[in-house]
Amino acid sequence: MADVDFTHTTVEMRGIVKKFGSLVANDHIDLTVHKGEVHALLGENGAGKTTLMNVLYGLYQPNSGEIFIKGDKVEVTNPNIAISRGIGMVHQHFMLIPPFTVTQNIILGKETSGPFGVLDIQKAAEEVKAISEQYDLYVDPDQKIEDISVGMQQRVEILKALYRNADILILDEPTAVLTPQEIREFITIIRNLTFQGKTVILITHKLREIKQAADYCTIIRRGKRIDTVEVEKTTEQELASMMVGRSVSFYVKKEARIPGEAILQVKDLVVRDNRNLKAVDGLSLEVRKGEILGLAGVDGNGQKELVEALTGLRRVESGGIFVHERDVTNRDPRDIIDSKVCTIPEDRQKRGLVSDFTVEENIILENFDRKPFSSRGVLNFQAIRDYAGKLIDTFQISPPDGTVRAGTLSGGNQQKVIIAREVSNDPDLLIASQPTRGLDVGAIEYVHSSLVAQRDKDKAVLLVSLELDEIMDLSDRIAVIYEGKIVGIVNAVDADENTLGLMMAGGGQENG
């Protein structure tokens, strides 16, 4: 870092205010980024970090404030202006066209063409190759996006920005989809980029990555800049408390338990996905009373299809699912709920809640046609209100009002409504599929303690998550899923991140 010129400011944002209606997403935020540094933006979900970067990239117009890029005051009214000033942004969800090749994706919108507008794909491929060699970002220019791994796709996104001569790269939650190994490679890549004079702004809520990759870190909480710190001189604990505004515990307290008999048994399960491929391919596992079984794996290895099969939403091709030794294979969701299996679904908005229903109406979703909530086909609103009120109290759902539309609640509170509904059914098996996705630290703590409470009541819990840390913290046993199969099961106490990471990538074989 000795050769980095810290006197030269490359991005300076002053007093940025961005309001959405009555919500102030950015409240007089200042940000100074120097050339050649990795600057992390840290904050909880909804703190305003992505908004700030969208302002810089020209996707949003600020209500007030000034932006200086490389010393010039710039009105960034649209992304083209930002791009022409050398800013590139890689969004959290990749903007790639799966059936196109790497080259086609990279040059999209800036195609090299010969006379009469004929696309010169050969020349473009060479250019792409040159850039990828220059920055040590190896990709195969002729492969299709749909055939390469997520880590590779991310490289393509970065190359796309570099191809447009970006020297300031904004990366939005870049590691959310990567395995631990890929994350390590990714950190090397951005280090490399900064040595070659590029500037990287990293949006993240993962503290460890900041420690590993960033030089400076600006913490944003509820739309306000809290502080900018030199990463070397701080700790993860300090960063976390600045982010949340109070001290947080990272670890869930959990007593050792001896698990009982198996509640859920899955035998040689085969399930096809929407493309009719075998997403779950001969999978077997067991979840026992009083344990949390964590299912670790990289996204897209059959987790979604497995959970859908377990909940009766997707047809099982072969194999069996047994709850309390009763065969529930290909039963409908009602039957499975009645076998005392409840689920916190992966997608709150899609599966978990009817967002146009009130909180009360959502709370009775699985029980609306039972006493006391209805009798002879007529709903009993008093009973519903009483019950919902009790749950709102117990689970501290905010606002404490059952008559508001569920869609107006914050993500964390929506999740609480779902957890309240599912846990109050007193299930013998609770399936939690990515239960903390998109939640802030406070809400995550809550969800985690609910899962552990369930386990401590001697119930079985199947936790499916893409966050390896979460799996390692909560589980008693960890099963790793890869290409629809369980490639290994380890006791959580014996697990280490490296071995798990290798198993997640297919048992340690070279994989991209």
């Binding site: 997403a25 409908d332 969701p333 978990g352 229903f357 699985e366 046609d369 209805s374 998109g438």
Partner: protein, 374 residues
């Protein structure tokens, strides 16, 4: 100003009233351009509707089928389905009612409910075809109901011409008196009735029209639909599927069954409207050269009524009044074209739809912003 607009657009009833006012202004402007005196035209219209008790009775008669087809569309919409097929369900309902009404000979106490239920049930079956096609094969109900509308139309025309049923070309035999729901239908023409009505000119005026108990049925159906949607587990289930079928399925609700059931109920309403029209007003069925538009008007009524049961009642009455009052402006001294009424109806729908469109865009944009920071 921005705040004012926001407040105005936030209330549904406010939007509706605002749209109606704008529609009258627009209609006036067009009348003015066409060289008519809008004040005079509107006076004639208002006079036409409220001037005589008879005219008010006519407006109610006109409104009755529209209220019910509006309910049909609104019910389907609340459960996530777009019932373009109220037209066909109406036709099927009227055909079956005419057949039952002519061929069956029963005492009124049995005949009337039987014809009504027969028509409604037939409409329900017609609707559930579209529901089944959607649930089983994923065929969108808009496509299938449009096609079913035409099948209903030609089937209807076939029935009208059936030997033994056709009274003369293009018209069927009348239903039996025992199936008719026109109020005091015989008594009002009898010696006693005439004398009595002679002494009560206002009532005589009202009952000159085919005033029938259909409107009462319509009001009962409004209450029933409201109750089903908002107070029963059936309504809860159907609305859950309508709002978010994935979550409903997750919660153990049989989505496919719900879709078929929902289209059956919507179809029953459409069929009921057709049956009541035959039983109360037309008494027979005739060959249709084109769709009569009861079902299509139902779509506009459901929209104006914000898909609520009671909203449909008021929107239906407004339509009935506009249609009947509108016909009056064609005659001297005004001689304004009937199309003015259609322009006004179009304007109302347009202005009601626009704020909703704006709100939809606002919500969509907010959602996008929300995603931006997720």
């Amino acid at each position: 100003m921005g705040k004012f607009i926001k407040r105005l657009f936030s209330g549904t009833i406010g939007v509706t009233i605002f749209s109606i006012v704008i529609a009258f202004i627009m209609g006036g402007a067009i009348l003015l351009l066409a060289g008519y005196n809008p004040v005079q035209v509107y006076m004639v219209m208002i006079e036409g509707v409220f001037g005589k008790p008879k005219n008010m009775a006519w407006s109610v008669i006109k409104a009755t089928p529209l209220i019910i087809t509006g309910l049909s569309v609104a019910f389907a919409f609340r459960t996530g389905l777009f019932n373009i097929g109220a037209e066909g369900q109406f036709i099927v309902g009227s055909t079956v009612a005419a057949l039952f009404g002519y061929y069956l000979h029963l005492p009124p106490l049995i005949h009337i409910p039987l014809v009504f239920v027969g028509g409604a049930f037939a409409g329900g079956c017609w609707g559930s075809i579209a529901g089944y096609l959607k649930a089983r094969f994923g065929i969108h109900e808009v496509i299938s109901t449009i096609m079913l509308n035409w099948i209903a139309l030609y089937g209807h025309n076939y029935v009208v011409g059936m030997p033994g049923f056709a009274r003369r070309t293009n018209i069927s035999c009348d239903i039996q008196d025992s199936a008719c729901i026109t109020l005091f239908k015989n008594w009002k023409f009898s010696e006693v009735g005439r004398t009595w009505f002679g002494a009560h000119p206002i009532l005589r005026d009202i009952f000159k029209t085919p005033l029938n108990s259909g409107f009462l049925v319509a009001v009962l159906l409004v209450i029933l639909v409201w109750y089903i949607l908002n107070r029963t587990t059936l309504g809860y289930r159907l609305r859950a599927v309508g709002f978010n079928k994935d979550a409903a399925e997750f919660g153990g609700i049989n989505v496919k069954k719900s879709i078929v059931l929902s289209m059956f109920i919507a179809g029953m309403l459409g069929g009921a409207a057709g049956a009541l029209q035959v039983m109360g007003v037309a008494r027979n069925i005739s060959t249709l050269a084109a769709m009569e538009g009861y079902g299509f008007d139902g779509i506009a009524i459901a929209l104006i009524g914000n898909n609520s049961a009671f909203g449909c009642l008021f929107a239906g009455l407004l339509f009935g009044a506009l249609k009947f009052g509108g016909a009056r402006i064609q005659s001297p001294p005004v001689r304004a074209p009937m199309e003015i009424i259609n322009i006004m109806i179009g304007t109302i729908v347009f202005f009601i739809a626009i704020p909703r469109l704006i709100r939809m865009i606002i919500r969509w944009r907010e959602k996008r912003k929300g995603d931006g920071d997720a």
